[in-house]
């Protein structure tokens, strides 16, 4: 499935992601990590820890509607993989991010921006693993 190269939209989106990470640190003193937000909701340590994460999640989930209101279009979601791959991949993502304590947002953006060697090691590792997996899936197995 071909996709269109969108340097400006992607750069603008990236700046907004960085802005959100900065604002969460400025106001709540927290790392903007999707894994931390989700895991903290599933097993909350206290009511207030649950509440701010629920509010962030609610904000995230309402963003496609906000974009619809502004641009008149719902963001494109094209799923080029089978349902078993979606489920199997999801299971691995959930297991992996729990052991590594972070994903693309937590380690890849926030951790790297703090120049954390732990986050840099994690990001390099999962990026290489993802490149290798996509190569094997698309060009070796041919799924």
């Amino acid at each position: 499935m071909e996709t269109v190269f969108t340097p400006w939209a992607s750069l603008g989106g990236g700046v907004l992601i960085g802005l959100a990470a900065t604002l969460l640190m400025l106001f709540l003193g927290r790392i903007m990590g999707a894994t931390g937000i989700l895991a903290g909701l599933l097993v909350p340590s206290s009511g207030s820890e649950f509440a701010w994460r629920a509010a962030v999640l609610l904000g995230m989930v309402s963003s496609p509607l906000a974009l619809l209101a502004i641009t008149g279009e719902v963001p494109t979601v094209q799923v080029p993989v089978s349902t078993p791959m979606l489920i199997g991949g999801g299971l691995l993502v959930g297991i992996g991010v729990t052991f590594s304590s972070g994903c693309t947002s937590g380690h890849g953006v926030c951790g790297m921006a703090r120049l954390s060697t732990r986050s840099i090691a994690a990001t390099l590792t999962f990026m290489i693993a993802t490149f290798a997996t996509v190569y094997v899936v698309r060009h070796v197995i041919g799924a």
Binding site: G18, I31, L38, S116, I128
Partner: protein, 144 residues
């Protein structure tokens, strides 16, 4: 007040994710497919997010404390161990198979597409499996 700010910050994050293409698995997978229909857009997402956060954090950490909290809660763990790297490999393999990462999928829930809900449900199951494995490992270490 904390909740209003949290909601708005989630909204900014999700809008960034949706605008950038991170919520679109076809685009994400094409970034990782250099040998195929390569779409380099994600370099711009990562670049924009990293530079903004790098500058933003430097400004924020000039303060003594956050605006609506007592302290900055920044990870202090510096260990690069098998748990970190193994977890990262498993995450990368899963991301390469499904095309969604957690930060891409959570805002995409708002599109109402069933695929996003199926993926997110699987991620939640994975988190509970990992937490179970971790308590089992911890229990074994205690009894050993």
């Amino acid at each position: 007040m904390r909740l209003i700010f949290s909601y708005l910050i989630g909204l900014v994050f999700g809008t960034g994710i949706a605008l950038s293409g991170m919520a679109n698995p076809a685009k994400v997978l094409n970034f990782f497919d250099i040998a195929g229909n390569w779409d380099p857009s994600l370099i711009f997402v990562m670049g924009g997010a990293l530079v903004t956060t790098f500058i933003g954090y430097r400004l924020v950490f000039g303060r003594a404390a956050p605006v609506l909290a007592d302290t900055f809660q920044v990870p202090v763990n510096r260990t690069i161990d098998a748990r970190l790297l193994g977890g990262s490999v498993v995450f990368g393999v899963g991301w390469g198979i499904a095309g969604f990462c957690p930060g891409g999928a959570l805002p995409a829930l708002g599109t109402g597409r069933w695929e996003v809900y199926a993926f997110t449900a699987a991620v939640i199951a994975g988190i509970f499996i990992a937490k179970f494995l971790q308590t089992q490992g911890g229990a074994r270490r205690v009894t050993a």
